[in-house]
């Protein structure tokens, strides 16, 4: 345990690949079991249609047509977008302290984006038509449909993140190749196609520019733009419409992503004795960032509440009053306040900080953001501008099939990490070979490691 002062090295980052504990199998087995349950539930849905959910038609129908599937979709996209922004910031601003988690954040982005994409498939009534309907009409729909923009952005970020990851992996794999297991030789050879040491500097620059691109596009194309536009541009639902959704979504995304990274690093540190790789100092820093973005999240909620209750028009007031009376919302916001209390207390007094507390805070934050997202979708639909119908607001409680999808995507994402962690280092070689690249150069490292 007393390894905090030990210098991290390549041995550390290779440990997950070379050693497999019983806990690994337990986690793998448990996650697989959940995935099987989810797949069974989904098959049931595919066979019978979306009637197996608790969704319904809004209006005379007395239901909500979007529910947990869309709520969870935007939550996953948020985590993904936050993750890539985090990693880009680390690279762009040379935040060396967080370099050990940069790749973890990128992997989180890939995992979470895949889950979001999966939710699009789960959510639609005719997933069999997705390809043949979306692609031929794409040149037109991309001009008008926010959902087409969404698909575009998810694809774009998947490609960008995968490129990012692929580029930085080459450096590591090349240098660690003879210590990596041979049964994945094909994969490593694929990753290393055309590699030469001369490319390192170029790749460094490419990654820097990619990071710049991601940061610049974040407000517009990521969770600050396209995803909230799915809702904010519709005047039919007063709970959704409004320009504040852009910044609100972005802060929720960043808050969720930092929580996700804290949880992942905590588990890895526990499993692989990475106390000297993921230091207490790093966790404290991440916790502070969580506090900052959490504060922004709560601040923007407050803005909306004030606007919704002070002198709002009828429809806008109805949705806000309903939200404030909703226990799910009260619990979510209460959780955020408690978490923020802890974070600011630990910022003032180091002794308040503990790893476990930060872990609990992160889990709590993810719960709060998920429930806020689902509630945002559901209540938005329950309080439409045209609320003459007696059956409005309808009722909605997710069905077992819907809940299974949430458990299933969490398990799938876990499986994704469990597989990845056996394939290549989830901590960059750069991060453990001496902090040398504060100026974005990274060339010092090149010379040091020739093994």
């Amino acid at each position: 345990m007393a390894t905090q002062n030990k210098e991290p090295g390549p041995d550390d980052i290779l440990r997950p690949i070379l050693n497999t504990s019983k806990w690994y199998y337990v986690a793998f087995g448990a996650a697989s079991a959940v995935v099987v349950v989810f797949l069974a539930a989904w098959s049931y849905q595919l066979e019978n249609g979306l009637i197996v959910t608790n969704l319904g038609d809004w209006g005379s129908g007395g239901g909500v047509t979007w529910g947990m599937y869309i709520g969870a979709f935007i939550w996953w996209v948020g985590i993904a977008h936050g993750g890539i922004i985090l990693s880009a910031a680390v690279r762009l601003f040379g935040m060396d302290k967080y370099q050990p988690v940069a790749r973890m954040a990128e992997l989180l982005t890939l995992g979470a984006l895949s889950m979001a994409g999966m939710y699009i498939v789960i959510h639609t009534g005719r997933p069999d038509r997705l390809v043949l309907s979306v692609i031929p009409s794409y040149p037109w729909t991309v001009q008008s449909s926010p959902l087409a923009w969404d698909i575009t952005v998810i694809t774009l970020y998947f490609v960008m993140t995968a490129t990012y990851l692929g580029l930085t992996l080459r450096y590591d794999i090349y240098r660690l190749r003879d210590r990596l297991p041979d049964h994945f030789d094909l994969l490593y050879r694929f990753i290393l196609i055309g590699y030469s040491e001369k490319e390192d500097k170029i790749i460094e620059r490419m990654v820097w520019w990619l990071a710049l691109g991601i940061i610049v596009m974040a407000p517009l194309l990521l969770h600050g733009g396209v995803i909230p536009w799915l809702f904010s541009v519709l005047p039919s639902m007063p709970g959704w419409s409004g320009a504040i959704q852009g910044p609100q979504f972005l802060t929720i995304a960043l808050t969720s992503a930092i929580s996700g990274v804290i949880i992942l690093s905590y588990v890895c540190r526990w499993a692989y004795d990475w106390q000297h790789v993921f230091t207490d100092e790093m966790f404290r820093g991440l916790t502070k960032w969580l506090g900052l973005f959490g504060l922004l999240f709560v601040w923007l909620q407050l803005q909306q509440i004030i606007n919704g209750v002070f002198a709002a028009d009828v429809a806008a007031e109805q949705v806000m009053v309903a939200k404030l009376e909703q226990p799910v919302y009260i619990i979510a916001m209460g959780t955020m306040v408690v978490v923020l209390g802890y974070i600011f207390a630990q910022a003032l007094d180091k002794r308040v900080f503990s790893l476990n507390r930060s872990l609990v805070a992160s889990i709590a934050v993810l719960y709060a953001t998920l429930s806020e997202k689902i509630l945002f979708v559901v209540e938005g639909l329950q309080y439409p501008q045209f609320d003459l119908y007696a059956n409005v607001p309808g009722t909605y409680i997710p069905s077992p099939v819907e809940l299974a999808s949430l458990a299933g995507t969490l398990a799938l994402c876990t499986l994704f990490f469990l597989v990845i962690i056996k394939l290549f280092p989830v901590v960059e070689l750069h991060a453990v070979e001496g902090h040398d690249d504060g100026d974005g150069g990274g060339d010092g490292g090149d010379e040091e490691v020739t093994a």
Binding site: N48, G49, L50, I51, V52, T53, N54, L55, G56, D57, W58, G59, S60, G61, G62, G63, T65, W66, I120, H123, T124, G125, R126, P127, R129, L130, L132, S133, V134, S137, P139, W140, T141, S144, S145, P146, L147, A148, I151, L234, P235, S236, M237, D313, V314, A315, L381, P384, Q385, F386, D387, L388, Y389, A390, N391, V392, G394, T395
Partner: protein, 499 residues
Amino acid sequence: MSTDESTDNDEPRHPYETDESFHPMGKEWEDQMREELEETDYDADLGMEMAKDAQRLVAGEISEKEFYQSYHDDVQEEFEVDDRPLFEDLDGVDPSDFDDDQSMFEALKDIDLEADDVSRRDMMKKMGAGAAFLTYGAYATQQNGRSDEVPQLVENLQTKEKNREHRWGMVIDLERCDGCLSCVSGCINENGTSTGANWMYVFAYVNEDTDQANFLVRPCQHCSNAPCEKVCPVRARHTREKDGLVLTNYETCIGCRYCQVACPYGVNYFQWGEPDTDLSELEHLEMRPEKVRSMDFDERKEALQTAAEDGDHIYDERGWWTDSRPPTGVMGKCTMCPSRQDDHTESPQGTVACQDACDEAGMSAIHFGDLEDEDSRPNRYLRKRSENVEENDRHFNDEDVVEGEDPDMWESTTNWGRLSSFKLLEDLNTQPNITYLGNEPGPNDKQVDPAEIREDPEKLDTPVSYEDLTGQDRWGNQVVDNRKEHLDYGPSGPPEEEA
């Protein structure tokens, strides 16, 4: 007109015509067209000029007569008689003979461009300049849904109004509605919709101040600026250019339900599970939709009319599956009976099932028709009602004049008298095509709980509840007001005794 390349800046332009290119598909397309023409032995400049003017002709900016007269001599001069089979038919035609009904455009359209099984490129080489026009002419006729190979790019760029023959809509007189739900039943009977999918929905709501009950008749508003269409990621929800109907292509809809979310009126009903009415009851054509679409216009029309004798009306004239109830996993809503508007069924064009039922019930609150036709039923109704109101207005004045008061103070000063009309949520800029006569619901008004009416039918003098409609249509479908309660039974449906 000369073959001079220079363009007069004062010439009328198309909405899509840019400095770079006159063609809606852009400069690249135009250049390619020119290249192909230059490979022929004919005058490419003439061809391009003709193509350009053909676009103006399509857009209605020059008349066919003008167009033909401009090129008649040029074409005569340019083409050898034997080398221009397509123009032979035109030799004897006197341009001055053309009137609106029998046009050269129509004549050209009838030439079967696909008969020779030649590629467009070959055809252009063969026919030279004239083909540039004809190719576009073919596109233009496809605009009217007369061909299967609709080049969607062109379709998309054309301004919608240009090709519109009708603008279907309704005037609904709420003061004539007593909530008998005949229209609801008529709609279910026509379309075979599932339990709770009340495409036509009629309900009573109470005004806070007066405590007076009013009825609202709520079909789809068939908006001219439909938000549901805008958000659709696959263009399944679309506005039919020909007549402004907002329809769903049941074959491409992916069931994302974004249209339902964007629609401010709540008129969409998703097919959550198996439809109550089996497809075999709706369709006896025994043809795949692709087969229907592959037919030419007349062939298809005949097939669909024959099918309609068996009660089929699931395809519109484009061969798109847009009518009757949707299949599983697809969005449905009021269609305004496109098969009727395409003249496939025995029910005449310009009628809808709900209106028929309303008339039959002796209420005549629904008036459907072409809103752009001054003499259509809704427009005539609107005129007549406003005249009546004005008369009553005056009549009322005479009776109520009190000595010493100015009799004019009672009189309306507008042409419309006191006729109260409104469109639902007009300020959301959806441009609905339903005009209501009667009281507009206020922001705090609320529908009377249907359960209350069920328990106490006397409450509103409406003895009919949705549940009462069960089994009244030809499918024998169950009818309910609150669909959620029904959906909660899950895929197996409600227990026997309740169904």
